[in-house]
Subunit: 334 residues, 2 copies
Amino acid sequence: MQATIKDIAKKAGVSYATVSRALNGRRGVKDDTRELILEVARNMGYQPNAIARGLVLKHTRTLALVIPDITNPFFPEITRGVEDTASLQGYSVFLCNSHWDAKKEKLYLNTLQEKRVDGIILHTSNNVEEDQYTNFKIPMVLLNKISSVVEYSSVEVDNVRGGFLATKHLIEAGYRKIAFIGGTENSPSNAERKEGYKLALKQHRIPLDERLIMSGSFKSESGYENMKKLIDSGNIPDAVFGGNDVIALGVLHCAQEHGLRVPDDFGIIGFDDIPYASLPQIQLTTIEQPKYQMGRYAVDLLIKALRPEEGGEVKRIILEPKLKARKTTREVPR
Amino acid sequence: MQATIKDIAKKAGVSYATVSRALNGRRGVKDDTRELILEVARNMGYQPNAIARGLVLKHTRTLALVIPDITNPFFPEITRGVEDTASLQGYSVFLCNSHWDAKKEKLYLNTLQEKRVDGIILHTSNNVEEDQYTNFKIPMVLLNKISSVVEYSSVEVDNVRGGFLATKHLIEAGYRKIAFIGGTENSPSNAERKEGYKLALKQHRIPLDERLIMSGSFKSESGYENMKKLIDSGNIPDAVFGGNDVIALGVLHCAQEHGLRVPDDFGIIGFDDIPYASLPQIQLTTIEQPKYQMGRYAVDLLIKALRPEEGGEVKRIILEPKLKARKTTREVPR
DNA sequence: TTGAAAGCGCTAACAA
DNA sequence: TTGTTAGCGCTTTCAA
């Protein structure tokens, strides 16, 4: 059994209130007694019971990160950003994988409330019901936009701008027949990227061809399939903007299989800048999201919201996406 | 403020012990009162306080996973295995990144004890001091071998066998001058893989050339550098067994840069089978570790150890590594 | 500077 | 079947 404050009190011959004061560095304890108590505590290998403390203090110094799937290469860096920052500020973090499943997500949110975490960082699975996050009692910050009425603080990347940047790069590199192969239809991020795509085409007076706009899921196979459809249709684009890197890699694979020469005859750009993308054998041109920073900012926002003076207020941090021109697109002439 | 058991008791006009009984599905509560209580609880949006419960029950239904770095592609799948399994059994899991730093690891282990997690799954950073895990009060299972005297349960892959399999494959594919480019010198896993390498050479009567055995770190750059050294030395191998996939990828990059034709003139095999490895553009031959399963088994082992009847006993689960022959080695004639 | 005591929200032993 | 009560390990108020 672990030593408690009472055990120390007995051994040191003081009341346990004094032990608590000494251990917590509160003032109003004579230096001699403090030293004695600390000494005794050390000898007994005392470790404060955070559960008992949490019960009276009403906070647990615990945060939670709820994401769809840590196995998806987009999330580990965010997770590191979250964990590093939380740890620096004295918080531990629960990791929960929702498996892109709204039911599972809801279940997690519930247990996390029961465990009385101080705050939650959530990257929603899509397909979420409107009332999913209503009457929620714990501070929360979002890592992606949800279309719901509820308003939470969030840190996001400017997806419209990202989509615009991607498409503009393709155009400047001389590609003209540009397709958008996106992820899930009902994902707000996906919709915004598509919007940026349309914006860029318009600005450069390239007519929009609806047959070149596809959607599916945020997976490699979806990119492959959609690219194949495009090829089979005979209406073959000379470049593709993929809804994310994983999709883009699927497209790339399909393009190469069909003998399209990348980047000379066919350009491809992704979104996210997952670690794969920069591998020397891949060198995928993409739009970078500052993933680690997103995790970092989310924690900062959350911890600020924990302080009662600052609570309540909804803040949004919008981060800038950045073009990473690599080898799957032609060089832009200058 | 959240509703408590007392609030429910008051509203339902019963004692709060009865409420506790009803809520926990204990028998000895009249059906009518139970229904009433459940109804009231639902209306008040009651959520049990896991902290208070933990204080009296002396367990928290939480586990912790301590790994070096979730950003390292080897860990996300293990993590999923851990989290999925834990969640299925009603446990939440803390994620801690030690950054390959023994000090930080120790710090984490300490806070985790204070938070009274029920058990810990640990993949140690190397360079760990002998007494790091001694006088430790919480059940723990290890994901890699530590050279220390302390004995913990563990789930490991048979690294000697893995190293043997890798080298044997290279030999059977017709390569003769085979180098081992490993990770950190003091990593037990690394040492075991090297041992398997030597074993295979010996069995096939290929003389050991110590100049072909290199070590460094488990990073891509380390593989690149060591391969470069080999090339510069003039003593160029016709195949390399990399200490892990990331190293192997570095070696591959270097080899390609120097005009070595893979796999015809130069073969390369890794270890781990990280997600990158199977990318169509990479197709790295490697030794697979059952990562997800390792996480799963670790949790099973840990939860078993939590039950007092089964506690104490040290168990080891040794998993079989498997060859994944892909495109960076020649086909084995049959 | 120190101690006594209440109370955080819950479970469980005991009594009724 | 239900209620009373003690106690989990701690912090904090109040009094000494």
